[in-house]
Amino acid sequence: MKGLILNIERFSIHDGPGIRTVVFLKGCPLRCIWCSTPDGQNMFPELEYFSHKCIKCGRCIDACPKKAIVKLNDEIVTLRYECTLCGKCVEKCLSGARKIVGKEMTVEDVLKEVEKDMVFYSSSGGGVTLSGGDPISQPEFSAAILKMCRERGINTCIETSAYGDWGSLAKMLAYTDFLYVDIKHIDPLKHKKFTGKSNRKILKNIENISKSYPDMPVVVRVPVVPGYTDDMENIRAIALFVSGLGKNFKIELLPYHRLGIHRYEALSRPYLLRDLMPPPHEHIKTLKRFIESYGVKVIMS
């Protein structure tokens, strides 16, 4: 079985217990406007072009068999609808300005990478984490990886939006030891406005998880995006919702950051939050105390 992988990152310490290898899968059902990995959203390979690295040498123009690259007003422009992702331009570019993201891998390929850090998992209680994008966009493939990891004694974790049918989610959960799930906003309308989808399915799924997997450690991740998700009303409602789910549920606050914004340009996509600044540390601390007053544990990374 094959899946589409964005990246595999070793020695991650913020995505579950211990030292972990994070497998980023391509494809996500949501389109959060603050997303910091837009290259994980689409479930197909994409060409990235980083203009700040480009020296405008024009080698890629000559290399492209589709004539999909042109120089316009001294800018290198890729006509994406002509591009077949053949990769010829990437090979010719000497400054690393071009890159194709998204690579097909088999379950075995992924396992081979994951198994490399066995010694670190055992010394730290770590393992594998499927992230993305969102593993839920490739449920069979994800479940197969998780199952094989389980069989090899590797601790498993997934990071998902939980937006999808219960069947897909359950397939993965059957082999999951630790779960991260997002609640971006409690209000279905606002959720739809910011992410493209309503949150009804998500909240329903989370409730299902709390019933079907009462022992599963779950961290509910809440992005703190100033002016979008960080109002007390939203945070209060999320805290209230989570407090009703069980002691195995915790909340993690993810302060908005801007480290992914150059990737939008690389994909020729607009970034809507150009002028938004990260929330002050004090604000996060206040929110943390506030949530804790509802009896929910809060972690911060």
């Binding site: 910091s36 000497l94 670190f120 209680g125």
Partner: protein, 788 residues
Amino acid sequence: MFPRIELAIKRLRETKPSVCLEKAKIMTEVFMQTEGEPLVIRRAKAFREICRRKTIFINDGELIVGHPASKVNAAALDPDVKYWVLSEELDTIHLRDTDQFLITNEQKKLFKEFIEPYWRDKSFWDTFISCAPEDLRQLVEAGVLILTNGRETPNHGLLAPNYELIIREGVNSVRERIERKLASLDLSIPGNYEKWVYLKALLIVCEGIVELAKRYALLAREKAEVEKDPQRREELEKIAEICAHVPANPARNFWEALQSLWFYHVCLQIDYNDSSNNPGRVDQYLYPYYKRDIEEGRLTKEQALELIECLFVKFNEIMYLSDKAYKIVAGRARFQSINVGGITKNGGDGVNELTYLMIEAMKELKLPEPHFGIKYNKRRNPDLLLIKAAELVMLGTGHPQFFNDEAGIKYLMGWGIPFEDAYNWSVNSCKDLTLMGKIGGPRIPASINLGSAVELVLTNGMLRKTGSRLPVPQTGDPRNFKTFEDFKKALKRQLAYLIKKAAELANMVETIQEEKYPYLVASLSFEDCIENARDCMAGGAKYNIAGEISSVGHADLINSVIAVKKLIYDEKRITWEQLLEALDKNFEGYEDIQALCLTAPKYGNDVPEIDEIAADVIQFLCQETKKYSGRYGGKRVFAGAAAAVHIYAGSCVGALPSGRKAWTPLSDGISPMQGTDVNGPTAVLKDASKCCLDVFYAPLLNMKLDPSLFRSEKGIQSFVSFMKAWADLGIYHIQFNVVSPEVLREAQVRPEKYRDLMVRVSGYCTYFVDLPKEIQDEIISRTTHRLS
């Protein structure tokens, strides 16, 4: 911070390093007066005379006193080893780019008229050049082989004398032992006269040490008499009392033990003012003194910490005169290694309160010396040791280095050393293993430049730097290598030849060392040297392990072989013709070939096909090296290079198939090539662990670390787990460079210097200099925040 420590650090910062010629002058005088006497006697007399006449001083506030030269940050010249440093740089040494030394006009005159004329043609290098076989000389001058005491690399003593013996027994009791031995010598037996002379020399050295300490006692008393501040007066009186007692007599308390240690260190530096006199396992042998004082209420923890800091600061006041090539190393590393942690005689946990106090001291001082190492024994040492160590790592001072205790014990036991000695190993200079007072030298007589080895195969025996042919086998024009196997065969032939040449060089170095440079002060604390009446540099120590053949450019070699295999043979993307042309031109105008070379798989990323080739080549090198024996018995071992040699070695090597450009530094130890370890720290460890560590001796591993790791408790825990895995993997050494916000800011301004700086950005590991300014600023602000 303690006020006196603050004062000492200020003094360090504000005193410009300078040249000191007192030793050179006195030594020259004594040598002129003693022509005709045996060398050991002349050296001993010179030493004693220096102890009697050298300028001595006690700095304000200091509790531990003594310095080998005439003032703080002054570097004494060893005229017999390297007078030529000044011959060549007399008028420019104060103007070098880095590591400048002040020199006065009188000193210049003294050097030109008195010191140089006597020592001209008598240095280590002169001796080497005058009697080296032509081919060896050429290989050394080309940088293919590297001479430890040579011109271009720092001069290393590489010894761990037994400081503990001096502290515990005192020099007087050593003297008695020498006298007993002398009395027992039957001079009618051939060879015994030589021993008699040697022991006589040691006695003279003992006199020198004791007299020097007495002079400090007097000085302290004089200073006490005129001191106005009552508290300082009391301290000076105390110092006078201590210096009157140690190191002649056994230390009676913690303070005396530290002062005794320091006096011995000063005397070692007077004997040879080079780097790498290593006090070793200080937390172990100082602990009894500490414990007794604490138990008897004579000392508080706070006072102990202050004394330790006073001692540690002193290591920084010592300078040695580096030659001009040393500027490419930059920084004034003196490699005075001390270690904490490890295990006790009975195999129990060696970590004690002093271990933690010393880590604390290093944290407060943030100074480059001593060279601080933690011997971590996964089975015995507590996690707390790693947690405390993490607090030191995150400061980004480069301290501590970690050494895998079990790996060290295994190395030594592999040499036939029993556990009862092997458990007590300590670090020699930057990373080698030794036993205090038990393993003699010289330890690294010769090194081989693996980058050159590759170059010589590609050029069929020609040195790119000069375009001249070297006296090495011509393994054929690479264009005619039909298969990868042909190439590998040629490479192995060249490597085998160079290893043999390195063994020849090592023999030569060991012979010159024994004949010309006895280590008398060090040998005093080698019990077997007295018993055998033989110097520790002449096979007199308990264990005389064969000097290693060290190597530099490990990753460059592996990466070059892989690139050739991939690009020319497996994927046929370029021809030999193209590659050789590009290398010839240092990739200029051949950027696409360089780009191809750079994209070939690289060592340090946990890629199985590389491991196989790496293992094959390293195994081969180790086996070849084992064919040769040391001067004092035992088989030679193949080892990873000492710190900083990679810079000099790189300056001798042209462009390589790995994509590395000409004259740039080679890779460091078994660390990956700069900027090619894109799979993160665990992959680097995995690859390092595959370097045939059972046979490849003591390689060095440096790793850059993102400081954000230490921001959270989870991060620290992960660091602890990471280090446990490191120990499990059997890797011998690791050291971390933690990237500070200052470094990041600097990298923004001068990206060319920081090409290999990696940071983690939302799920990606990427080069910092490749990011847009906006994102860089973001990362800097986050880094700053994390550390606050």
